[in-house]
Symmetry: C2
């Protein structure tokens, strides 16, 4: 299918938040983000904000996005923490939560005694030597202990500076215990398929727009969606425009540029 | 060559320290360690203590080993920190040292301003989120910045408990910046070959005795030496006796058992 043909065939969007709608550490939406979402709503193009954000619980995160003028509700967002909490409850798991305190509200009502699951979020300063050892000992001491990663993102951009994300700590633990984490979040195929069910669309009708070549673009493409990379956030031309393993279906300057393409 | 034939042909030994001669956090030598070294000296079998220890500078480390009754000198030991310091000086490198304060004496006389090399040791609590980000930004911001790991050991045993070692943090950074660290220490081939030159022996005349299936046994075998695993330290029967990738040439209960085999 030609590029213009698939762009015209897009019926819905999955949209990454950090690096696309705003940049961590700043207090304003990114160029064109508010206009792009407004145009999608007016044109009745369904979309879902698909984030790997684990820095804030859902309620606080939505308040923050609305303070930026993005006008979103709980139904507009898919984030890994509520999905993980549901999975833990459904499987009677008692987690050791390696997360920052600001995320705890998304994990209410769980028994955290005698853990039989390790859950890794973007823990920031909680990624201490002590906490990483605690996770390691739970996993190596009990092969039945579940190992859950809320994403695989390696780093993100905050206030113009790159910051390590949970993915590298997940890699560290995988290296130590020689087994793979179950990912709840991008780039897991199931995360994309859950989002498609919410949009009532098929994978070939939907494009994912993001700034992470691996989690957003690579993950979406493996799940059967189109992947559109934006030139913002952690995007770096020298690395992402000729990536060794992932080739975006399209590269745009920002979300608005792509929304204008599908709406004209 | 039959097992008894190669054991008889061993002319020298490389001996790991932690998990073989003593266990971290304890104040005594391991069973048979003192007797084994005494027998080697009496029989004039050359040996070198080949450690990846980066928890103490060389001088303090030797004092500690002698306090355990092991009777060793500087010439008996090969450790990664002095080799790394030499490499940094020879190449005019200005390191960011991610190490614990107790190792700093091995890196005296280096310029640490405006780093163009990242050096990772067993930094313990210094493996903070902040320090790992500092290393990450140096490496991702400058592809010429050297990335040096003083070993790849994943974990060790201390006071009966497993503790994460530098190897998993090296893996985390390798994952983040998508390039491989240069290893100065086991399992790097060059580290074993440096030790052989000190013993004036060829690789097929020497056996490495250690408790780390990957760094000691796997590394030695790749460098052409025999690898003898001991059942102490971090050794675990279920994992190491049928390891997926490494098969020791011999497994002994301890160093003394192997020394008795080569001396009879």
């Amino acid at each position: 299918m030609s590029k213009s043909a698939w762009i015209k065939s897009v019926k819905g969007l999955l949209i990454d938040i950090s690096g696309v709608l705003h940049e961590a550490g700043t207090d304003h939406a990114m160029f064109g983000a508010i206009e792009a979402l407004t145009k999608l709503r007016q044109a009745k193009v369904p979309y879902l904000l698909c984030t790997n954000e684990t820095s804030l619980d859902s309620r606080s995160f939505i308040t923050k996005l609305n303070d930026l003028g993005l006008n979103v509700t709980m139904d507009d967002i898919q984030a890994p923490a509520p999905l993980t909490c549901r999975y833990l409850k459904d499987n009677n798991l008692r987690p050791f939560l390696l997360i920052r305190p600001e995320l705890r509200a998304d994990f209410e009502g769980l028994n955290e005694n005698d853990p039989n699951a390790v859950v890794i979020g973007d823990a920031v300063d909680a990624f201490s030597f002590e906490n990483l050892n605690k996770a390691f000992r739970l996993l190596i001491g009990n092969p039945q202990c579940e190992f859950i990663a809320m994403g695989r993102t390696k780093y993100y951009q905050k206030n113009g500076e790159l910051v390590l994300d949970l993915g590298v700590y997940v890699a560290a633990l995988e290296c130590a215990v020689e087994r793979e984490a179950k990912v709840i979040g991008k780039p897991a195929k199931e995360y994309f398929h859950t989002a498609l069910r919410k949009l009532h669309l098929e994978s070939n009708q939907v494009a994912m727009v993001g700034d992470d070549i691996l989690s957003d673009i690579g993950g979406a493409q493996k799940a059967g969606l189109r992947g559109v990379l934006v030139r913002s956030g952690k995007y770096r031309a020298e690395r992402d425009e000729n990536h060794a393993t992932v080739k975006p279906d399209l590269i745009c300057n920002n979300l608005l540029e792509f929304v204008n393409m599908i709406l004209t």
